[in-house]
Symmetry: C2
Subunit: 254 residues, 2 copies
Amino acid sequence: MGQTPIQIEGDERGGACVFVCEHASNAMPAPWGDLGLNEAQRAAHIAWDPGALGVARALAAQLDAPLAAACQSRLIYDLNRPPHHAGAMPARSETFDIPGNQDLSAQDRLTRTDAIYLPFHAELRALIARRLARGTVPVLVTVHSFTPVYFGQSRTVELGVIHDADPALACAVLEEALEQTGLDTRLNEPYSAADGVTHTLALQATPMGLPHVMLELRNDLIADEASQSAMAATLAPVLRAAIARLSHQAGEAA
Amino acid sequence: MGQTPIQIEGDERGGACVFVCEHASNAMPAPWGDLGLNEAQRAAHIAWDPGALGVARALAAQLDAPLAAACQSRLIYDLNRPPHHAGAMPARSETFDIPGNQDLSAQDRLTRTDAIYLPFHAELRALIARRLARGTVPVLVTVHSFTPVYFGQSRTVELGVIHDADPALACAVLEEALEQTGLDTRLNEPYSAADGVTHTLALQATPMGLPHVMLELRNDLIADEASQSAMAATLAPVLRAAIARLSHQAGEAA
């Protein structure tokens, strides 16, 4: 339990954004171990968001922003779900049973919540609150990836742009991505807040009134370091322009 | 800075509610001290919610529920406001200037945020998340008091029932209070979420989908221990019946 559940990079950076990658890692450290999964399963999208960390890290560098990334597999605790959600410690993910998550006791759920969920979100909260206290309202950007084939169905969307309560930044990112990139970009696809996938935004951005967006990238487009860097190079100006649109609108309203 | 900003009572209690009293105390400990206020000002509603802790403590005992209470004055840090809100460390409250809160530096704001806001809300989050992990969805009830005369205007409302995103419990409490008590009870008075007074609910209840309500009592009705106990005895069955209504509605919907 001694292992930290969160890695923060670039806390000293002063850019407008804070990046979060809740599904950065497929590590399954003690005391949980491999949850009864084989190597191929542990490498698959059920265990993490392949490619998301590389994109998030490159974007954070380009936008001079901090990055908070998870250090354990989402199958041990999915940081984008609250502790009472079945998906927080899923017994099944897509077509796979997760042996080590069957019949978890209340104490098992409590132990994982204490070891992973609470410290991750407390440290992220602190990172954000300290910026607020110093007079900066950061923009929260969470970076995810999704599998190109889900329950046997192919997905054509390449970039999903998802929001929690405030759609302003997501709409601006959508418009900029459609203008600037050739990516098949959709709002609130392949899923949306109604599917319960915006917990981090709901917990960390909405109560503070932070502009926010969740970026979902189809993982076949970011399978290696070169394509992750290229995607970050594509998305960095999209984010910059979208944030500038918000600032411009705020200026007009003031 | 070593002093804890939160006091949790009855963490082992198993009732449906979690009570919170963000403005429980008018204590002004070192290193902040009296902020340049005289004794009468430090005893006034600007420094705390007089009577609220007594009501919250008695309600928590009657409903077998834990209570999380603040240990410092709201003038040092108002736990019901985010760190970038002017009211978090107000330079002025109603008709009073707060000398010790003039021209706070970014470092001053950061120090108070780190010492009070972050640990209070992290411990409250943990208290709630541990109940969720064990399979219980608690009901969050925050207890406040308001001054009968504000900016020279008398207020006739006696019990304000305020909600954040989900009005269900507040509406049920309103109906039960009107049926069961003689209190002048109003929904979202003397202020509402639109006035930025529901930060604790927005931070702790809404992201988790917790039923929630903020109770605002006119402080002349709860000026001593006897009236605080009497108010709790009045409100306990109101809360019980309101929660039962929600459970009944949830049962019908299921």
